[in-house]
C-alpha cells in the first residue's frame, strides 16, 4: 500500500463534473492550477471532508477517508488534514494565539499546554510579538502566517493550502513564500497547493497539475508545463517566463544580461515576463534600447491561434506571437532575431 495521498475525486454538481486522480507522496508538494470554476475548490472541499465524494476514493497513508462504494466517510474533524484557507479564515473573536491553539484545544489538549505550544508556533512564523492581537488588527500577510501556524500545530497527516497568496501584496507574498518553502520542506506528509499564480506554483511545488473543466489537462514538472503547455490555459498562465537574477536599483542582472525593471529592488529577485509582452524584430528596434537584445530562435510551437517561440542565449525566454506575425517575419528555428520587452511588462518578485 502506498503512503501519502492516493485519491480519485469524482463529483457531480449541477452542470459540473469533477473527475481527477490525485496522488501525492509523503514530503512532496503538488500545485493544483486552474482557472476559476475548474473544480479546485470542489477538490479542496472533498479532501478536507467538507463535501462527500460521489464516486472514487480518498486514502491517506493507511486510512480510507472517503469511499462511497463502501460507505466510508471520515468527517473533517477526524481527517487530520491541515487546511490553510483562502484569506486565512481566522476566527475574528479570538487572538492570534487562541487561533493557533484552537486545533489543540479541540483535540483536548489542556489550555495552558495548548497556549504554550501555540506561542512556539507563532514564534516559528515570526509573529510572537502579536500573539494577543485579533485578526482584525493583523495585516494580510500576518493573517496568513497565523493560518499556517494554525494548520500545522496539530501535526496533520496532510497539508492543504488553498490560494494562500491570493489576498496579498507583492512584498507580503515573498515573505510568506519563503516561510512556506521552509515549512513545506520540513513537512513529512503530502502537501497540496491550490493556486492560480504560476510563479508560486513553480517556486513551491515539485509537481504541477493543471485542472480545467473538472479534469486534469496536464500534469508534470514545472519545466514540462512551462515549456510544453498542453492547453491554451496552461500556455497562458503557466507559460510565463521566470527570470532569476540580482537587482540593484532598477537594473536586474541575469548572468551577464541586464534588464531595466519598473521598480527599484535589491538582492535576489524573481522576475516574470509574459510571453505576449515580448516582441520579435528582424532588426534592432528603436525606443528603449536597454530591454532589447539579439538572439537566435531555438524552437517554434504552433497552437490553435498562437505561436510560441523559444529563444536561446543570452536570456532564454519564450515569446508568443500570432501565426500571421510568424509568417510575416518568416521565422524558423535558427533565425537570428532581436527581442524587446518594455520595462513596465516585467513583474519583479523579491526572491
Amino acid at each position: 500500500m502506498r503512503t501519502g495521498l492516493d485519491s480519485r475525486l469524482t463529483m457531480e454538481r449541477s452542470g459540473f463534473h469533477l473527475d481527477m486522480a490525485l496522488g501525492i507522496d509523503p514530503g512532496q508538494t503538488v500545485a493544483l492550477l486552474g482557472p476559476n470554476g475548474a473544480g479546485k475548490t470542489t477538490a479542496v472541499g472533498a479532501l478536507a471532508g467538507l463535501v462527500p465524494l460521489d464516486r472514487g476514493y480518498i486514502r491517506l497513508d493507511d486510512r480510507v477517508l472517503d469511499d462511497p462504494a463502501t460507505g466510508t466517510l471520515v468527517g473533517p474533524a477526524e481527517r487530520r488534514i491541515g487546511v490553510m484557507f483562502q484569506d486565512g479564515v481566522l476566527f475574528p473573536h479570538l487572538s492570534a494565539l487562541e487561533n493557533v491553539a484552537f486545533g489543540l484545544r479541540s483535540r483536548g489538549v489542556p489550555r495552558r499546554e495548548a497556549r504554550r505550544r501555540a506561542a512556539g508556533w507563532l514564534e516559528a512564523v515570526g509573529l510572537d510579538q502579536l500573539s494577543d492581537h485579533r485578526p482584525g488588527r493583523l495585516s494580510g500577510g500576518q493573517r496568513q502566517r497565523v493560518a499556517l501556524a494554525r494548520a500545522l500545530i496539530t501535526e496533520p497527516s496532510m497539508l492543504l493550502l488553498d490560494e494562500p497568496f491570493s489576498a496579498l501584496d507583492v512584498s507580503s507574498r515573498a515573505g510568506l513564500r519563503r516561510l512556506l518553502q521552509d515549512h513545506l520542506a520540513g513537512f513529512p506528509g503530502p502537501s497540496l497547493l491550490i493556486t492560480h499564480d504560476p510563479t508560486e506554483a513553480f517556486l513551491l511545488a515539485d509537481r504541477l497539475i493543471v485542472l480545467e473543466n473538472g479534469s486534469v489537462a496536464q500534469e508534470g514538472s514545472a519545466d514540462q508545463v512551462r515549456l510544453r503547455p498542453a492547453s491554451p490555459y496552461a500556455a497562458d498562465l503557466a507559460g510565463v517566463n521566470l527570470v532569476v537574477g540580482t537587482a540593484s536599483g532598477r537594473v536586474l542582472t541575469v548572468g551577464k544580461h541586464r534588464l531595466l525593471v519598473p521598480e527599484a529592488a535589491s538582492g535576489q529577485v524573481i522576475a516574470t515576463i509574459h510571453p505576449r509582452a515580448i516582441s520579435i524584430h528582424l532588426e534592432r528596434p528603436g525606443g528603449s534600447p536597454r530591454n532589447s537584445w539579439p538572439t537566435r530562435i531555438e524552437r517554434i510551437d504552433h497552437h490553435a491561434d498562437r505561436v510560441r517561440v523559444q529563444t536561446g542565449h543570452p536570456l532564454p525566454v519564450t515569446a508568443e506571437i500570432t501565426p500571421d506575425a510568424q509568417t510575416g517575419l518568416n521565422l524558423a528555428p535558427g533565425s537570428e532575431v532581436w527581442l524587446s520587452v518594455k520595462a513596465t511588462e516585467i513583474q519583479v518578485n523579491a526572491g
Partner: protein, 280 residues
C-alpha cells in the same frame, strides 16, 4: 457661462471641499430626519413635562407601583431568557435546514410581530386557556391554569417578543461566513465545540441585541398580557397594565410609572448599545 462653470469647478478643487466629508446634512435629509426625531422625542418631553416630580418618591412607593415594578422586572427578564433558549434554536432551524413549508413556518414565527397583541392574547387563550386546545387537557391532568397567573404574563411576553430574537439571530446566522465553522471542523472541532467556540461567539453581539429587544418588547407588552393573563395587582399587573388602570383614576401614579418605564428602557438599551452593538 462656460467660463463660470469651469471657474466654479476650479474653485471647488482648490478648496478641496468636494472630497471633504460633509459637515452638515443637506436639507432634504435634515428636515425629514428632524421631523422623525421629533416624533420620538416629543411624547417623551410631554411625559417629562407633566411628570409629578415632587411626589415621585411617594407615588412610586405605593404598593401598586412597587408590585408592578417587581412583576415587570421578573416577567420581562423571564420572557427574554425563555426567548433566548427557544428562539435561538428556532432561528437555527429556519436558517440551517431545508424543509417543506419553511417559508410558512417563518411567517408563523413573525406573525406575533404584526398581529395586534390583543388578537395574540385571544389566540393564546384559545390555545392555552382553561378551555383551550392544549390548556384544557393540561388543566384536567395537572390542575395548572396559565391565564391569571404570573406564568401567563411571561408566556404572553414570550409570544410577542420571541419573534425579535428569532429575527435578529437568524439574520446573524445567515450573515455568518460558513467557512469559519468549516475551518474549525478541519482543526478537529466536533459539532459541540464548533457551536460553543465559533458559532455562538461570532453571533453573540446579535444574540445580545436580541435579548435587549425581546426584553424591551416584553417589558412594554400590554394587549396580550391583559387579554390572556388578566390584571391583578401583585400577580399579573405589570407596569403597562398598572399605568393603564391608574390612568383612569390616578393620573400622577400613571405618569410616575410611565416615567420609570422610559428611564429604565432607555438606560438598558443605551448601555447595551454602547457595550455590544458598537463592536458587533
Amino acid at each position: 457661462m462656460t467660463e463660470d462653470h469651469q471657474d466654479s469647478i476650479g474653485t471647488s478643487r482648490r478648496s478641496g471641499s468636494r472630497f471633504r466629508p460633509a459637515r452638515r446634512p443637506p436639507a432634504f435629509i435634515a428636515v425629514p430626519a428632524a421631523i422623525g426625531l421629533a416624533l420620538f422625542a416629543l411624547p417623551v418631553l410631554g411625559l417629562l413635562g407633566r411628570a409629578p416630580w415632587s411626589r415621585l418618591a411617594t407615588l412610586l412607593g405605593s404598593d401598586m407601583a412597587l408590585e408592578a415594578l417587581r412583576l415587570s422586572a421578573i416577567s420581562s427578564v423571564s420572557a427574554a431568557i425563555i426567548s433566548l433558549f427557544l428562539g435561538v434554536p428556532v432561528a437555527w432551524i429556519l436558517c440551517r435546514y431545508e424543509f417543506p413549508g419553511r417559508s410558512l413556518v417563518r411567517g408563523l414565527v413573525l406573525l406575533p410581530m404584526v398581529l395586534p397583541p390583543v388578537v395574540g392574547g385571544a389566540a393564546l387563550l384559545f390555545a392555552l386557556g382553561r378551555r383551550g386546545l392544549v390548556g384544557s387537557p393540561l388543566y384536567e391532568a395537572t390542575g395548572i391554569v396559565l391565564p391569571f397567573s404570573t406564568g401567563g404574563v411571561i408566556l404572553a411576553g414570550v409570544f410577542v417578543a420571541m419573534p425579535l430574537m428569532v429575527l435578529t439571530v437568524e439574520g446573524a446566522l445567515r450573515g455568518l461566513d460558513h467557512r469559519f465553522e468549516r475551518a474549525a471542523e478541519t482543526l478537529g472541532a466536533g459539532r459541540w465545540t464548533v457551536l460553543r467556540r465559533v458559532t455562538i461567539p461570532m453571533i453573540a453581539p446579535s444574540v445580545v441585541a436580541g435579548i435587549a429587544l425581546t426584553w424591551a418588547r416584553a417589558l412594554g407588552e400590554f394587549g396580550a398580557t391583559l387579554t390572556f393573563a388578566g390584571n391583578l395587582q401583585g400577580r399579573t399587573q405589570t407596569l403597562p397594565l398598572a399605568v393603564f388602570v391608574a390612568l383612569e383614576s390616578d393620573r400622577d401614579t400613571a405618569l410616575a410609572l410611565s416615567l420609570v418605564m422610559v428611564v429604565v428602557s432607555l438606560a438598558v438599551i443605551v448601555a447595551l448599545r454602547d457595550h455590544w452593538w458598537r463592536n458587533g
